[in-house]
């Protein structure tokens, strides 16, 4: 469990960082952010990057910005930053509710929001939040910056469309309208473990009926995603136990669950149904 040797680079500006990545990426160089996923895989020698470009010293990536309609989270922002709401309204509360489900307290002090997206674990809470809320990210390289919808970013489990010389410099989450309700529910074997299934739902309640429903699931399939079939069930309806059950059933029918050591595909399908219904129940005041 000693990592293979690597060369360590510590840029202090974004310009230096993208230059370093452009130079070293072709020689198996990688970004080091919170290190909470990368370092364990290096210790196991499942990853043996020849160069590490540590972006923890890049000041300009360290902040959270709030614009008129969005929250912009820089690549240096740690999970722990969200323990308390970072912005007034539903989004801040949503993030602070969800963050407690990510790993354990010490890990949350180091791991980053953007690192989670770049890592693209199927059970990443931030990937689920980003997919459900239609977040966009900014990818920056010596060639310039571009934005990518998170749904375009994450290709498959642990795999993204970032070019090898691109740094995921920030993620942009749209602020949620005032009448937004949300609910999140996760099931894992132990506290802090990656979820076997989880769901985030949001919707607006206008005149007692559901508008703009979003139903996301994570940990069930290779990539967290919204389930349109369930959203259709909810749209324009009054919240009720029966409605929530129907939406959950729609998710169970639409999902194509994975199978692994901890949970068979069938079991995951059952869990998907349950976590969606419970997330919906939690959306009620």
């Amino acid at each position: 469990m000693k990592p293979a040797s690597f060369e360590y680079h510590r840029p202090t500006t974004l310009e230096e960082a993208v230059k370093a990545l452009a130079e070293y990426a072709p020689q198996d160089g990688r970004i080091l952010s919170g290190g909470q996923s990368l370092v364990p895989t290096m210790a196991l020698r499942m990853a043996k990057p020849a160069h590490l470009i540590d972006i923890n010293g890049v000041r300009e990536l360290a902040d959270i910005k709030v614009t008129e309609d969005a929250l912009i989270i820089g690549a240096g922002v740690r999970h722990a930053a969200f323990h308390k709401p970072v912005v007034d309204g539903a989004l801040g509360q949503l993030l602070s509710f969800v963050v407690r489900h990510i790993a354990h307290y010490p890990i949350r002090q180091r791991g980053t929001f953007c690192g989670s997206l770049a890592h693209a674990d199927p059970s990443s809470e931030w990937c689920l939040v980003s997919a459900t809320l239609d977040a966009e990210i900014t990818a920056t390289s010596v060639r310039g910056a571009r934005s990518i919808a998170v749904t375009e970013l994450i290709e498959w489990a642990m795999s993204t469309t970032l070019a090898e010389d691109e740094i995921l410099t920030s993620v942009r989450l749209p602020l949620l309208p005032e009448n937004t309700r949300f609910g999140f529910y996760e099931f894992s074997r132990r506290a802090g473990d990656y979820a076997l299934a989880m769901s985030l739902v949001t919707y607006e309640l206008a005149d007692g009926v559901i508008a703009a429903p979003r139903v996301g699931i994570g940990g069930v399939e290779g990539v967290p995603r919204r389930i349109a079939e369930a959203e259709e069930v909810l749209l324009g309806q009054k919240p009720s136990p029966d409605l929530f059950r129907a939406a959950a059933e729609a998710v169970a029918n639409a999902a194509d669950p994975m199978s692994d050591l901890q949970a068979s595909a069938n079991y995951r399908r059952d869990l998907a149904r349950t976590v969606v219904r419970r997330a919906l129940e939690r959306s009620l005041p």
Binding site: S5, P40, L44, R45, R189, R190, L261, R273
Partner: protein
């Protein structure tokens, strides 16, 4: 001032909580080399070639060894429970022609630092021709090597006329039950540092644990040295649990390398290695049948089981299957009994003991059987047990079988009494009412019990040396070992009370083979019973000598003197007194006052015992099932345990609570899984789930002293394993009860996925109209 029976603070805690502990990895010597083991990536295969030149070419690499380099070193021998025919299955320290599990050492690299060693290990090319893999112990018997089959031996025990028992039975209850492969994962992984001190011609090994003396003798034999030319040193040990401290290939390799390379050689196991290289345990399948009469009384039991030993037979030899065969009957009358245990080799990590070996497994099996008996005759699980328990007035109770080569005689016990106390403690009757009410409201809640008899105090001997110095400090030297369980404190308490000193004045030296010639170590919950009694015997001798000397000095009769708080005083209350340190000064070799007495205020004490003693206990679990997710919440858990005499009740409780956490791991979380190619799937803590502080509920503990052991003066029985023993059994019973499906749980660990399947089965039952009423 009595120390025995009091929860005095642990003597060993100060260095541990102030960061001054000295674990294996904390030991280093100048010029040391670091060893890295190259492990087989295949579960079974023939070694074609091992390429070492690339590794040897790496700067900083000093040597790379393969089997050919250690062909003069014999395989690792058996320490316990040797039965005929196991020799061909011993493990060599490096794989010779074949590899038989993923993780088997095939080569070792010695380098200047651990990073280089690991880099070099990656460069060693291992060419293996794959062979068919056996992963199941209950399938067809295969070939191990040559004419040796994968069933090296069978364990048979029994008595009475089992055929007749089944012929006369009103009912026969039959179950097929399995426990999952899991093992201990001590916080401290294994570690070993070998060093040859040429100035003294002594080979030293640091990082010893559990059985330092036996390991010293083996290393001496394997490396052709005399035992007195080999010293083993135990430092702090971050948990043993049966796994740590057995003699493994790596221990022998660091010693051999220290001798040959002339430099200290250090090896620290990493966690991934631990999960594939250290002993696994527990994987067993039992097909058990009970012949019972109309009232649920057992007439006979027949038990066939398959023990998955993994790829080789290690130091424990047949210990676990032997104990499984001997202990499965627990606290019940079983007039006729027959067991057949198949020891099976598979292409998985070799196995050994883990806390409550052979009992965690068989308590699950037996208590499942008791619940099935209750369901069959329509009585409550509690009643089924009561009808079969061995009575207090039948003690000592003899079973005509042996365990670990000792005759099984339950020395003392009041099983029904402890059951009553346990049920009262949890408020069983009210509990049943509240469970019924909650069930009626739609909740899946249930309660279950598990009863068991443990074993402890394995002999055959223990000896200690006690010496009082002129400063009045007492040193107790024992061949026992400490794996962190509180040996120093408990032995000091016994010594202090016997001698008449404060327990903090007693320093206990353990696990140092250069300080005492013989020692049995620490396993089988033996230390407090065996070493404790040897300590008491030695302390009595020291006391007698002190009083005899003081009698001269104080011009009093020895019989009129006593030792209080480290001073010899007159029992009459007369003021004059003399400190023990001063008595020791009068006993120095140069002292004129010594007279004809042997120099030194010191003595040796020996205690011999041919029998184990048998603590016993009851676990009660209350669980709630989430029908949708299959999640099981433990609402209440009681461990009641009779240890005869609790020297330090706080330490007994600590043993029970910690033991429970490990039992819970085996019952619900931990499983060392393999795929069909023999690839281990649980090689990190992301996949091998140990319960954390969040998953382990706080439990109730009831320590009783109703049945002191007649086999030692203090009445002590071991306390190490009762917290683990019945966790699988009690939780399984509670889950059955919550589901209203007697016999639903047939397999450990009980994972949410598996519980969910039971919930589905329950719904199918309900739909089919078959009513399965829980018995309460």
């Amino acid at each position: 001032m009595a120390f025995i029976g009091r929860s005095v603070p642990r003597l060993e805690d100060r260095p541990l909580v102030t960061g001054k502990g000295r674990f294996a990895a904390d030991v280093s010597f100048p010029h040391q080399l670091h060893m890295r083991v190259v492990r087989s990536p295949q579960a079974h295969g023939r070694i074609l070639a091992i390429g070492t030149s690339a590794a040897l070419g790496l700067p900083g690499v000093v040597a790379v060894w393969t089997a050919g380099d250690v062909s003069d070193i014999p395989p690792i021998d058996f320490r316990m429970t040797k039965i005929e025919g196991l020799e061909p299955y011993r493990q060599h320290i490096l794989a010779t022609d074949h590899v038989r599990y993923v993780g088997e050492p095939v080569a070792v690299v010695f380098a200047e630092d651990p990073y280089i060693a690991e880099d070099a290990a990656d460069l060693v090319e291992v060419g293996i021709e794959e062979l068919p893999v056996i992963t199941a112990a209950d399938g067809p018997v295969g070939i191990f090597a040559g004419t040796a089959s994968t069933e090296p031996a069978q364990v048979r025990k029994g008595y009475g006329d089992v055929e007749a028992a089944f012929k006369s039975a009103t009912h026969v209850v039959e179950l097929d039950l399995s426990t999952g492969r899991h093992s201990a994962v001590p916080m401290e992984t294994r570690g070993a540092l070998g060093r040859y001190d040429a100035s003294k011609d002594v080979l030293e090994m640091y990082g010893a644990a559990k059985v330092p003396h036996w390991n010293r003798d083996q290393v001496a034999r394997m490396l052709k040295r005399s035992p007195s030319q080999v010293h083993f040193y135990e430092g702090h040990v971050g948990g043993g649990f049966g796994v740590r401290g057995e003699l493994y290939p790596e221990d022998v390799l660091v010693c051999a390398a220290a001798l040959r390379l002339g430099r200290p050689v250090k090896w620290i196991e990493d966690r991934r290695e631990h999960l594939i290289a250290a002993n696994h345990s527990r994987q067993q399948r039992h097909k058990i049948r009970a012949a019972i009469d109309a009232t649920g009384k057992i007439i006979g039991i027949e038990n066939e089981f398959f023990h998955d030993q993994g790829a080789y037979v290690r130091t424990h030899a047949a210990t676990v299957p032997d104990l499984s065969a001997a202990m499965v009957l627990g606290p019940y009358h079983v007039p006729h009994y027959r067991t057949l245990g198949h020891i099976r080799l598979t292409n998985k990590t070799p196995c050994g003991t883990y806390r409550a070996p052979g009992r965690f497994e068989t308590t699950f099996v037996r208590e499942r059987l008791m619940d099935a008996i209750a369901a069959r005759v329509g009585i409550t699980p509690v009643e089924a047990r009561r009808r079969n328990l061995i009575g207090k007035d039948e003690m000592p109770f003899e079973r005509p079988i042996d365990a670990l080569g000792t005759h099984v005689v339950y020395d003392s016990g009041d099983y029904a009494g402890l059951l009553d106390k346990s049920l009262r403690k949890v408020g069983w009757d009210e509990l049943q009412m509240s469970i019924e009410a909650r069930r009626a409201a739609g909740e899946l809640v249930g309660a279950g019990i598990g009863m068991f008899v443990e074993k402890s105090g394995l002999g055959p001997y223990d000896g200690v040396k006690i010496a009082v110095d002129v400063g009045g400090k007492v040193e107790v030297i024992t061949g026992a070992a400490s794996v962190g369980q509180g040996v120093e404190t408990v032995i000091a308490q016994i010594c202090a009370d016997t001698l008449g000193v404060d327990y903090t004045a007693v320093r206990v030296v353990h696990g140092q083979t250069d300080r005492i010639d013989n020692g049995m170590g620490a396993f089988a919950s033996r230390v407090t019973a065996m070493t404790g009694e040897a300590t008491r015997i030695a302390a009595l001798k020291v006391k007698a000598k002190a009083l005899d000397m003081a009698a001269d000095l104080m011009q009093a009769a020895a019989a009129d003197l006593e030792i209080v708080d480290g001073r010899v005083t007159a029992a009459s209350g007369a003021k004059a007194s003399i400190a023990l340190g001063d008595v020791a000064r009068h006993l120095l070799p140069v002292s004129r006052t010594r007279g004809e007495r042997e120099p030194g205020l010191s003595a040796e004490g020996w205690f011999f015992s041919d029998h184990m003693n048998y603590p016993y206990g009851v676990h009660v679990a209350v669980v709630r099932i989430d029908a949708e997710t299959g999640d099981v919440a433990i609402e209440k858990y009681l461990v009641a345990y009779d240890v005869g005499r609790a020297i330090n009740p706080m330490l007994v409780e600590g043993q029970i609570v910690g033991g429970f956490a490990q039992g819970l791991g085996g019952a619900m979380f931990e499983e060392l899984s393999y795929d069909e190619r023999g690839e281990p799937l649980s090689v990190t803590f992301a996949d091998y789930l140990i319960p954390t502080a969040h998953e382990v509920p706080s439990i109730d503990v009831l320590v009783t002293e109703d049945a002191p052991s007649p086999l030692n003066h203090l009445g002590v029985k071991g306390a190490g394993e009762g917290g683990t023993n019945a966790v699988g059994a009690a939780i399984a019973a509670a889950i059955d009860d919550a589901l209203g499906l007697p016999g639903a749980v047939t397999q450990l660990p009980i994972t949410p996925d598996r519980v969910k399947q039971m919930v589905v089965r329950r719904a199918d039952f309900a739909a089919s109209g078959i009513v399965q009423k829980p018995l309460s």
